[in-house]
């Protein structure tokens, strides 16, 4: 018969071992990508797969002249931050008014915004493609910025709304008593208090834009293609390019992975539309 202390320790050991095994299993593809990025193409293709090898920086050093990496990276940065800035500009006022001047329509409007996310992109692929073509916007960063702003807007409004709802109204009322205008009230009182929440909203929007692949694959080719499209271009020809693919992929995913690790708890609120905190 185990004592209570012994059985607690046994639980810890078993839980820990199983959790670590599962974590390594789920993380393995990412680890393997990272390892492969430091191999030569021959080692990357070797059978059986090599776990021990002399690492080389070759794939990273020649990343620019082999894939034009920086153009795509810049497109990703420009589009993700452009769409996020535009989205914040539209979402913050909406969330402000919904959180502090709630009407009978507020809940309905919020749910309706959520429902626009249910519209499958393929349902509007054809018209968006033709409209973009008509206005000469195919393969431009502008079209992706506009689309990403619109598809992330509901999430941003929801997320900011839930953060604003947590702010005590007295603070805003005090500012109003002191004669602050609405704009002053937002800029000088509200935004500093909600800084953390707004930062996580920005982060979530950047992550979603950065990883988006349906519109970037369908609306861009060489000019405005972000990293998600560059990587897809590695899928067509069969051949010895896995080490290069791994290096490009590692660079493309690293910033987002780090963002995700830093802000995992705050992201939950946005991803669950405020339902889980």
């Amino acid at each position: 018969m185990l004592t209570l202390k012994q059985s607690r320790r046994l639980t810890t050991v078993l839980t820990g071992t199983l959790s670590w095994a599962l974590a390594l299993l789920l993380f393995f593809p990412i680890l393997w990508m990272l390892l492969t990025s430091f191999k030569t193409e021959l080692e990357a293709f070797a059978t059986p797969p090599q776990f021990v090898f002399t690492p080389t920086l070759e794939n990273y050093l020649h990343i620019q002249d082999r894939s034009g990496y920086f153009k795509y990276a810049w497109n990703s940065v420009f589009i993700a931050f452009g769409a996020t800035a535009l989205g914040m500009l539209i979402a913050v006022p909406a969330a402000y008014s919904m959180a502090f001047f709630e009407t009978r329509r507020t809940k309905g409007t919020l749910l309706w915004m959520l429902s626009t996310k249910m519209l499958p992109p393929v349902g509007v692929l054809v018209p968006i493609y033709l409209l973009a073509k008509q206005f000469g916007l195919l393969d431009t960063r502008t079209v992706l910025i506009v689309i990403y702003t619109l598809i992330n807007l509901p999430i941003m409004v929801w997320m900011i709304y839930t953060y604003f709802r947590d702010i005590p109204r007295d603070i805003l009322e005090a500012a109003r008593m002191d004669g602050a205008s609405t704009l002053q009230e937002i800029v000088q009182v509200l935004l500093p208090i909600a800084r953390g929440g707004l930062a996580s909203t920005v982060l979530l929007s950047v992550i979603l834009c950065w990883n988006e692949a349906f519109w970037s694959l369908n609306l861009t080719s060489s000019n405005a293609a972000p990293l998600s499209a560059l990587i897809a271009s590695y899928s067509s020809p069969e051949g010895l390019f896995w080490a290069k693919l791994s290096a490009v992929s590692t660079l493309a995913c690293a910033p987002i992975l780090i963002f995700g690790w830093i802000s995992q708890k705050q992201l939950v609120r946005g991803l669950s539309f405020g339902a889980v905190k």
Partner: protein, 312 residues
């Protein structure tokens, strides 16, 4: 909030007064909300109206100018297309199995992590949620080239190690392969949400139950699971939205093949529109996808909509 309208408010007929009253009723913040609402309304209505229009005309980009009204012909051709039935089935299988895998395993893994404090728990958490942050095109290609590859993939090596014939995953089990890739991306999402929700579970309540002699299974069943009802609902809803439109993972691995073996509705419509240039038929397909998403949405919002807003 402060809409204390009198039941016998005098009716003014002046249009200006009426407009002012309407604005008051909308609340002082209406002009702050309207940009968001107007943009989303445009984003929904304009393309959708165009899709409806295109679906009723003959419209192939290869034959410009020949745009007669054809009624429901496009729908007829889309619904009787060789790809439609497999596309529908594959969509349902993909959404259903990924939901099942991510919710069941997600609950179990989240519960496991909460079962005991062990060394490196924070790091385990980070490793478990990482795949969610990998962009879809990368995860698809990593699985295709480094894991599924029949000659030098890790799985082939594993199979050979146990003396089995290596499997050419994408050719022999294309849909299963796509399901594995997509589950790998979305299970971490479920873990992330459920883990966070689990942490807000009242520890005192758990402790009290334990002192009352409840075993770990009883605690899981009667305390943890009910507490997770809402986060599970959220996971199901968000994942359904994204899983109905899985595209990049198919585009970069199997291209929907062999045949239609891994074609889902999204890929089928893309194929009609941008590979065969049949705008009319693709639009009809798009509308069918919208109808399906709406059925799912109505069911889900009925189930979860109250759940989402009632807290506020």
């Amino acid at each position: 909030m402060n809409t204390t309208t009198l039941p016998t408010a005098p009716r003014t007929t002046a249009p200006a007064a009426r407009a002012a009253r309407a604005m008051r009723r909308l609340g002082p913040g209406w002009f702050l909300v309207s940009p968001s609402v107007a943009l989303l309304l445009l984003w929904m209505l304009v393309p959708l109206a165009m899709t409806v229009y295109f679906s009723t005309i003959r419209y192939n980009l290869l034959y410009p100018g020949d745009n007669d009204f054809v009624g429901f012909e496009n729908f007829y051709y889309f619904l009787t297309d060789a790809g439609f039935v497999p596309g529908m089935l594959n969509t349902l299988l993909l959404v259903g199995s990924v939901l099942l895998i991510s919710v069941v395993l997600g609950v179990l893994i989240a519960a496991l992590l909460e079962a005991a404090e062990f060394p490196g728990r924070g790091l385990v958490r980070v490793l478990l949620i990482s795949p969610f942050f990998i962009m879809p095109t990368v995860s698809a290609l990593i699985w295709k080239n480094l894991l599924f590859h029949p000659v030098s993939g890790i799985l082939a090596a594993l199979w050979k190690f146990f003396g089995a014939r290596p499997i050419d995953w994408l050719a022999e089990y294309p849909l299963l392969s796509v399901i594995i890739i997509v589950s790998w991306q979305w299970l971490p999402f479920a873990i992330l949400i459920l883990m966070t929700a689990m942490q807000s579970l009242d520890q005192e309540q758990k402790e009290a139950a334990r002192l009352d002699g409840a075993g770990p299974l009883a605690i899981f069943w009667h305390l943890t699971l009910p507490h997770l009802a809402r986060p599970i609902a959220v996971v199901v809803m968000i994942e359904t939205i994204f899983l109905l439109s899985v595209f990049a993972e198919i585009f970069t691995t199997t291209s929907g093949g062999p045949g239609y073996a891994s074609t889902n509705l999204a890929y089928l419509i893309y194929n009609q529109a941008l590979l065969q240039f049949d705008v009319g038929m693709a639009s009809a397909g798009g509308l069918i996808a919208v109808v399906i998403a709406n059925i799912a949405a109505i069911v889900l919002v009925r189930m979860l909509g109250k759940n989402l807003t009632e807290k506020y």
